[in-house]
């Protein structure tokens, strides 16, 4: 399925030409999990990436839902 993804923190650096306003559209297998999405995007665990959809932080095994855009961010401990 096609999915709209927005990247935050420093995560967009690996995607030349990425525009914040639009985000990007990617193709993922139906039922792909948050963990699989990160792997597909080539984001390593050490970057502290977090997938958020509909205001909730997804667990590694939570599945992506068709038509629901996600944000991929990096965890921050406060400020």
């Amino acid at each position: 399925m096609k999915m709209r993804v927005k990247l935050y923190g420093t995560l967009s650096e690996r995607f030349p030409g990425y525009q914040h306003a639009q985000g990007m559209e990617i193709e993922i297998p139906d039922g792909a999990t948050a963990k699989e999405l990160l792997a597909l995007l080539g984001i390593s665990e050490s970057q502290g990436a977090v997938v958020i959809a509909e205001g909730r932080v997804l667990k590694a095994d939570d599945q992506m839902r068709c038509g629901v855009p996600v944000s991929v961010l990096q965890s921050i401990g406060g400020g």
Binding site: G9, T10, I52, G77, G79
Partner: protein, 573 residues
């Protein structure tokens, strides 16, 4: 290891050895334990019985990076309770290099008199009349002081708001470039300084008499281990240098917990215009500096220099909490306006958080429209001008709420909440309600636990325990002078162990299990809570304002659901 006691009534300066009870303490631990021991809890915060204590962290001035945090403590005119407000910059390391454990300001100069306290490179302190600087804003003041005493001078000072003894007045701290933009903003300690008749504390940075390290070799090794952990953390290695704390705008809005329009919504319309990613891009494009070193001995560089369209300096550093208070709460999704407001607050010497929330309360009460940038700037200017409304605004959100008879005032113990709505991040509600400091953004910040998936922000389970753990840990780190960012990276058994070794190597003793952070943090919190109890605080003061329990916050449409009983068990020790 010496204490410098300055009596503003008698204009005397006394140097004392540090009593045995205080050995191993610095920063927040020292200010809070001393205030609890020496300040009458029911005293007038702006009277001669209150004491204003400046204490570098226990590790400030040592070679350990990220330790240039100064704690300022007193009874707060904003909360009526004990207060520690800490700031970065250069002054903590400067005091540490002189072996000065604390500067304690007592008494009160006669009305109308103004002084600054200067500590030279030998550590000698003198009070110098400062009449010519009366009413001066902080940027101009620091410029003049650096002209007189040289660039290697650290300055902690107040602006017109502190001199006017306004309850949201800050104490501004000069950075590595000599700009007074770091702030001990919370709790109105600038007003205490103004009431003492003290315009500034000025410290020569060239001191070479730090307290000796008991075991320098072990210290070096232990410091290396701590630095390795801090550097390995993605937040400190990647996010902070690129985006600074503004990197939080995206996650907190994405989680629906960014209090907006005076906490009527959890997502700000147009938040992407003011997020860290947009800010960094704009700064880069205009020729500012998105990766700035604001504090002495910093290896993280979370600061930035924000410039206007012409590339001219506007402010430094634009931080998450300021962007929220001046942008989210007021509905002003414009970085140029927020930067201007930040600069004004630093220059006048008021807390950006309390002031932004105070503006939002005024807007919510119908005084001006949400989103009116010009009105917000005019309002803050009024604080500097000392108009009647400016004095109300500079006294914080609760004063504004009383003025307009408006009930939606997001404060606890008189101090505004921070940039995390307690209805969508329940653990923050626990910290806001129970911290002896009043609502606070560093005392027990839970957002990391949510983002790391350790805790569901909307499920009451585990919120109190997480807040308790973090409040204890941060009270201990604040005692050491360690910056918040580095401390967050050390919140693990390995981090605590490595950090404990650094403390032990300075002290010459080995810390036992449970000494750090638990033992130290609990000792500090107990002193703070004891002071507040004696000042008249009860369980009822450990509550959030009613509307957080009653008004659902969009988009999750949830309210604060942690019970009073659970709040009261936070400090069951």
């Amino acid at each position: 290891m010496k204490l410098i006691r300055v009596n503003m009534s008698e204009k005397t300066i006394r140097v004392e050895d540090v009593p045995q009870d205080y050995v191993g303490l610095g920063g927040r631990g020292l200010t809070s334990i001393m205030i609890n021991a020496e300040v009458p809890p029911k005293c007038d915060p702006l009277g001669p019985e209150n004491k204003l204590i400046f204490a570098p962290g226990f590790l400030s001035g040592t070679p350990l990076p990220n330790t240039s945090r100064i704690s300022v403590g007193a009874k707060s005119p904003l909360t009526g309770g004990i207060k520690e407000s800490n700031a970065g910059g250069t002054v903590a390391a400067a005091l540490g290099r002189l072996g000065i454990t604390a500067v304690i300001v007592e008494g009160q100069a006669p009305a109308g008199e103004l002084y600054f306290l200067r500590i030279d490179e030998k550590g000698n302190a003198s009070l110098i009349p400062a009449q010519e600087y009366k009413g001066m804003r902080t940027y101009q003041f620091v410029g003049k002081i650096l002209e007189s005493y040289g660039k290697r001078t650290s300055v902690l000072c107040i602006g017109p708001a502190g001199e006017a003894r306004l309850a949201a007045a800050s104490i501004q701290s000069s950075d590595a470039d000599g700009h007074p933009f770091r702030a001990a903003g919370r709790g109105g300690l600038g007003a205490v300084m103004g009431a003492k008749g003290l315009k500034a504390l000025i410290v020569d940075q060239r001191g070479r008499s730090p307290d000796p390290l008991a075991d320098p070799d072990t210290f070096k090794e232990a410091a290396k281990a701590v630095t390795k952990i801090v550097k390995a953390d993605h937040m400190n290695a990647e996010v902070m240098p690129k985006l600074g704390t503004a990197g939080l705008v995206a996650p907190v809005n994405s989680m629906g917990a960014f209090p907006s329009f005076n906490a009527r919504k959890g997502v700000l319309d147009g938040w992407e215009k003011i997020c860290g990613e947009t800010m960094a891009e704009l700064i880069q494009k205009r020729g500012g500096n998105p990766t700035h070193r604001g504090c002495d001995q910093c290896i993280i560089h979370c600061s930035n220099v924000f410039v206007d369209k012409e590339g001219k300096y506007v402010t430094s550093s634009l931080e998450y909490e300021t962007i929220w208070a001046m942008g989210g709460m007021t509905g002003i999704a414009d970085l140029d306006t927020i930067a201007r407001l930040d600069n004004l607050c630093d220059d006048i010497g008021v807390d950006t958080m309390s002031t932004g929330v105070a503006i939002a309360v005024a807007m919510d009460a119908g005084y001006r429209q949400f989103g009116d940038a010009e009105a917000a700037i005019e309002m803050v200017e009024e604080i500097g001008q000392g108009t009647e409304f400016g004095r109300i605004l500079g006294s914080g959100p609760a004063a504004v709420g009383r003025h307009f008879n408006h009930p939606r005032v997001p404060v606890v113990k008189g101090q505004s909440i921070a940039a995390y709505d307690p209805r969508a991040m329940l653990g923050h509600g626990v910290t806001f309600a129970t911290s002896p400091m009043g609502a606070d953004h560093t005392a027990g910040n839970v957002v990391g636990a949510y983002l790391q998936g350790m805790l569901d922000p909307l499920n009451p389970q585990g919120q109190m325990e997480t807040s308790r753990f973090l409040q204890i840990a941060m009270a201990a780190f604040d005692t050491m002078g360690q910056c918040f960012m580095a401390s967050v990276a050390l919140l693990s058994p390995e981090g605590f162990e490595a950090f404990g070794k650094v403390i032990g190597a300075k002290l010459g003793t080995q810390l036992g299990p449970g000494d750090f952070p638990e033992g130290m943090g609990i000792r500090v919190l107990k002193a703070e809570r004891e002071f507040n109890r004696k000042a008249g605080f009860t369980k009822q003061d450990d509550r959030l304002p009613r509307f957080f329990y009653e008004e659902p916050l969009p988009p999750h449409n949830t309210v604060f659901v942690i019970s009073d009983g659970e709040l009261d068990s936070t400090f069951d020790f």
